[in-house]
Symmetry: C2
Subunit: 444 residues, 2 copies
């Protein structure tokens, strides 16, 4: 017998875990629908050429590649890959369906796959929950992303979290001012931003070391800290935006104005102002973002960001040859579940069934089946014991299953045309007709 | 610009299709839960050795193979494959989780992938909806599969369908009697059954031709027809079972008794007797079935079977080295959807949103956002127009979106601190406070 195993980095979700996942997804989905986002699903497999070149070098390396139909592994011909995120498939759908009414506002809840090195809390298959608005440059579309995150986390019971917000142009202008224009190629700018994004983790000294290693002068690094001090000094987001307008070159002003609009609209959509923070160091996932970028953090426990997103006005254009603006946000379901688990935020989950129905004698399975059918027809979920059980075993199993009721038919009940019902919470027991037992269950 | 395309044999599900799929899955799932089946999900990717050798030669050919992490396509090293069905992953889960309480009754609704040649109505990714009971040999577990199919199709609005039932041992005994024991190897028996399974499609003459080509004598084929005539003559299932007991060797009697129990329990579970049919020619998917087999057909339109299943008492043993009995059924969601589409069985589906909220002027987006927030907080799903719209365009778009209400704020409304609401069904219009409009919407 060969050892049986699940594939590396993969997980099975047994019933108890599934109930929690389904509860969370149900809550999130109902927020998505309250904002009028429409459901979309795309296939797990995409043509390789759709996926490659969209996620950066590292992303290309992490694509799972699938062999062509009927090819032996040794032929090595792969022409498809597994979905890496939900954004690139959305861009493909928009490019292929030119008659979609714009703006196209969709939500999508599906797994994605990444050939990452598995480690604690990092899996190769994980669920993403995304909303995106395609075909609008309005800051209201950005604001709705933030409001959806706020309401989703609220619906799950999160109370203290911060939605951090920045803009690609603010970052770019800041780097330009600190390091000088002339010497700054695109690649260098990107690598500086990647380093800057680690500020939370490695602090200023760590970032300075990395920047020096990349050839930045001490003077430019000092200018960067000075600028950040200036931008981060004010405690209110409004004053921070004003400070940024003073510190940054004119090219950053439209971006700052855009952020101001987004923040104001987000508050109008009902998000408390103290949950929003303009953070000039936030630099997340720069691959396809072109405007506002955002993420959500909670401080306890430290789990990284629970959501991330931003505006990407050129991605659809990579497929279509014509740009269509878009903005979206992704909720990190796995992280959210991990935090909720650590903070004991799940409501008690129970089994699907309300009643465990059994026959005490093999000849009574038909009678027990008729009883179960009657309860199920009234909408009461029942689990039946497939084999006849003795009373003692019956109650033992019912306790393990965590059902509120046990219903059973033994020879005594059968003779009378009745069944017995026991409520496990208080041990109370009734012997009556199926119809009467049904009423008792419905009244509890 | 390279041409953008979806991968071959794959489909996107745009919102209207998604709503129908979600409606059907929701109905089916609620039946599964009423029977107390618990949710399970397994990963899309399984180790190749888990998948191979379970689905027959043809199945092995249809597995999508995935390259090892970080390997270039040219290295040709595949060690994982995409899930081909939900039954083998279940068997792996049971073998790996020895402490699962038995019987383990689970449902699973997930896509599966097969590298079939794409053609009309056949896709490479499709959804399966399965229930299985593992750890019980009781005919009640088989009967519950049939009752779940009956109730699921009923919940979707199907009225006339037939659940056909047979038993692996009945088939085997019938072939033995017609073709003789001595000359019959396992392989030949299987190939005869595969041919026999085509009776519906190619008729007796077609089956006879194929059997002759495989070396069957005219005499043995005549014996087969004679036996079938005997078995199929009685119109009631009860009499058919009696006829089979007369026509078949003694080794088939326990199987016939088992079928009798399953049928009786299925009726006790509330399934109408005239929907059940003992069909001695039914031979479906023999790879891992060991006992009862079943499928569901509707005659109009002719769409093949809407569900299939059976007992497979040795599959878990292939992983565990120790047999654990199991029985299950799979609803063919894609076929069910196709039939429902053809028969116009879907209820009217509407957009997620009840209200389309817009500002008539860019400066009023904040006011419109506050209005939308108020409605959403009361549970009313709203779509906002991200840009300000003129009234004419606003109503045009609302009609396209098929929402019942439009709410808007223009300069007039803004001055009064009010908003306007129009009901599209009758054109009635109100101008009032947000709170008043909310009451009007809730009362409609």
């Amino acid at each position: 017998m060969s050892q049986v195993n699940i594939a590396r980095g993969m997980r099975d979700f047994l019933p108890e875990t599934m109930r929690r996942r389904r509860w969370v997804i149900g809550r999130v989905r109902s927020v998505f629908e309250r904002y009028g986002f429409a459901p979309l699903e795309t296939p797990a497999l995409e043509r390789l050429e759709t996926l490659t070149g969209k996620y950066g070098e590292e992303g290309d390396r992490l694509l799972f590649r699938v062999l062509k139909r009927g090819r032996a592994a040794s032929s090595g011909q792969a022409d498809m890959g597994l979905r890496y995120d939900l954004t690139v498939p959305l861009a493909r759908v928009v490019a292929m369906n030119r008659s979609l009414p714009m703006p196209f506002r969709r939500y999508q809840v599906q797994p994605v796959w990444r050939a990452d090195r598995p480690q604690r809390g990092r899996y190769r298959e994980f669920m993403q929950c995304d909303v995106d608005t395609v075909g609008s440059t309005s800051p209201l579309s950005d604001a709705e992303c933030l409001a959806v995150v706020n309401d989703s986390l609220g619906a799950l019971g999160f109370e203290s979290f911060t939605i951090r917000l920045n803009h690609r142009e603010v970052l770019s202008a800041m780097v330009e001012r600190a390091f000088g224009t002339a010497s700054l190629s695109q690649a260098t700018e990107a690598s500086i931003l990647v380093t800057l994004d680690k500020l939370d983790k490695i602090g200023r000294s760590g970032v300075a070391r990395e920047l020096s290693a990349r050839g930045a002068t001490e003077g430019s690094i000092a200018r960067l800290w000075q600028m950040l001090d200036q931008l981060e000094a004010p405690s209110s987001t409004e004053h921070r935006l004003e400070a940024a307008a003073l510190a940054l070159p004119e090219r950053a002003w439209p971006a700052l104005e855009n952020l101001g609009h987004i923040l104001s609209l987000t508050c109008s959509l009902g998000v408390s102002e103290d949950r929003l923070s303009f953070d000039p160091t936030l630099a997340r996932g720069l691959d396809y973002y072109t405007g506002a970028v955002f993420e959500t953090v909670i401080t306890k426990p430290a789990m990284g960001s629970l959501s991330g997103g931003g505006r990407y006005d050129h991605l659809v254009g990579m497929f279509l040859g014509k740009d269509i603006p878009a903005v979206g946000v992704s909720l990190g379901l796995e992280r959210i579940l991990a935090v909720m688990d650590e903070l004991h935020m799940f409501p008690p989950v129970s089994s699907e069934a309300s009643v465990f129905v059994a026959a005490l004698d093999a000849g009574l399975l038909d009678s027990a089946s008729r009883l179960a059918a009657k309860l199920r027809a009234a909408g009461i979920p029942c689990v039946m014991a497939p084999e006849a059980l003795r009373a003692k075993k019956l109650f033992k199993r019912a306790n393990q299953m965590n059902v509120p009721f046990v219903a059973f038919i033994g020879p005594d009940e059968s003779t009378l045309g009745r069944a017995s019902l026991k409520r496990l919470s208080d041990g109370r027991q009734w012997t009556a007709t199926a119809q009467e037992l049904l009423s008792i269950i419905l009244q509890t």
